[in-house]
């Protein structure tokens, strides 16, 4: 079961959460809105990123746009209410829910066992795991290369958690926002930056002197191996592992 939980953690991600889980103390006073209350109010408050292109950002006309934002507007439309956006940073996401500041978080919010204890995740809507981006001239392709080096992370992310728990030999530089962490990488503050691979892919496209040397850190590749050994021989060449397995 524990293994299963771990698997789920790096398995697909990002989710919506509507309720503060019961059992985290009395929370009557911080009553998070139920769907009925949201409908009655006619407004759903959604926490989003404002500096994470292409997931949650603001275009030139001042409109909030991105993958998460399109989903947010769809949810509001399906509920028949107006969406009201609250811009958060990574480390404010759990507390924004717990404090009743928002009804829902759509901000690249990876499902983890620890977070599950305090917030209620909806079905994941994206595959994600922690990746590492570094300069093409000094690429980091294995975690072992990072020993004794500095790595940039954003506070309150799965990347921060992974390095804090599993890679104690790595010096972490922690930043508050996505803007800060990417600026720090560009000004050579550290050897690499670790964050969800989903936006590292987008970031390197605009910053071609960098590469995502490690695409997946926290998966052990179990399902991929399992797939190769047991399923691949039965499928044709046009079927890839990622068409079948979840996450990783």
């Amino acid at each position: 079961m524990k293994k299963m939980m771990q698997r789920l953690s790096f398995l697909a991600v990002l989710a919506a959460l509507l309720l503060v889980a019961a059992g985290c103390g009395k929370s009557a006073s911080t009553s998070t809105d139920t769907v009925a209350q949201i409908k009655k109010a006619g407004v759903i408050k959604i926490a989003v990123f404002g500096d994470l292109r292409p997931y949650g950002w603001i275009d030139q006309s001042g409109k909030r746009v991105g993958y998460d934002l399109t989903l947010a507007r769809r949810i509001a439309k399906d509920l028949g209410v107006k969406a009201q956006f609250v811009q958060v940073n990574a480390d404010g996401r759990v507390d924004a829910l717990k404090a009743g500041k928002v009804d829902l978080v759509l901000a690249n919010f990876t499902v983890t066992p620890e977070r599950k204890q305090v917030v209620d995740f909806a079905e994941p809507y994206m595959k994600v795991s922690v990746g590492v981006v570094s300069k093409k001239t000094a690429p980091i392709t294995k975690v072992s290369q990072l020993q004794g080096k500095a790595v940039i992370v954003t506070k309150g992310t799965t990347a921060e958690q992974y390095f804090t728990e599993k890679q104690k030999g790595v010096t972490l530089q922690k930043y508050d926002s996505k803007t800060q962490q990417f600026s720090a990488l560009k000004s050579d503050r550290a050897a690499a930056l670790a964050d969800d691979n989903s936006y590292l892919y987008a970031w390197v496209k605009n910053n071609p002197t960098y590469t995502v040397g490690i695409k997946t850190l926290n998966g052990d590749g179990f399902f991929k191996q399992d797939y190769q050994q047991t399923l691949a021989p039965y499928f044709g060449q046009d079927i890839q592992a990622q068409d079948i397995i979840m996450g990783e």
Binding site: T30, G92, K101
Partner: protein, 229 residues
């Protein structure tokens, strides 16, 4: 993309949004300074009274707000108080309350320091001349204490204005927060955009803080002219 980073600043809604962020910063700073400096002046005056119990309470208040980092105070007020069953205020309201209490704490120490720095014999001489307590304050203590408190007050005011940049931590769309979203949305179009944007932020904060120093200098000059007469 032949346009320069500077031109990007004026495209679409970029500039109006930056100005809106400037407005939020200005509004929060103005309300905080008006409330915080007045409350602080009052508390500072109270701290010169010989009441021991009152001194312990006011001293404790000052130390807490001076020692705990402002960003921690903001987080506690915005995210934790509602969870403990307290008030659930908007980000801007939380910012005004927290910053006002912090400003008042710092201001109380400046005012207390200025009041006790006026030599005792000045007030005593006033009493000897038969001035009432109110007259002593009005004509002897305040005219001498205000110039002493002024530099510290201006320093505090500029610190408060600049510290409002922490508001991005509690979802307030202030000048820096808007600026960061602009950098992320536009810097791929032009690599020097961030440079121009932070330049614009520099000008924004300069416009907020500089008048305070000018005003302080002006007052200092006026005082000098009066005392030289």
């Amino acid at each position: 993309m032949s346009q320069s980073g500077l031109e990007l600043l004026f495209q679409g809604q970029n500039l109006p949004r930056l100005l809106a962020g400037f407005g939020v910063t200005l509004r929060v700073a103005a309300v905080v300074l008006a409330l915080g400096l007045s409350l602080g002046a009052l508390l500072g005056a109270l701290r010169t009274l010989p009441n021991r119990g009152l001194q312990v309470v006011l001293r404790g208040y000052l130390e807490i707000f001076r020692i705990v980092p402002t960003v921690v105070l903001l987080f506690v007020a915005y995210y934790l108080l509602p969870q403990l069953g307290g008030l659930n205020l908007s980000g801007e309201a939380v910012a005004v309350v927290t910053f006002t209490l912090w400003t008042a704490a710092e201001m109380s120490d400046i005012v207390r320091g200025a009041l006790v720095a006026v030599p005792r014999h000045q007030v005593e001489a006033g009493a000897a001349l038969g001035l009432t307590r109110a007259q002593q304050l009005r004509f002897i203590l305040f005219p001498q204490a205000v110039p002493l408190a002024l530099p510290g007050t201006i320093n505090l005011a500029t610190r408060v204005i600049k510290t409002t940049s922490l508001l991005l931590m509690i979802s307030v769309m202030d000048l820096v927060n808007v600026g960061q979203t602009l950098v992320e949305a536009n810097s791929h179009l032009h690599p020097t955009f961030a440079f121009w944007l932070y330049g614009a932020l520099f000008i924004g904060y300069y416009l907020l803080c500089a008048p305070l120093s000018w005003w302080a200098k002006h007052i200092a000059r006026q005082r000098k002219a009066v005392t030289n007469d």
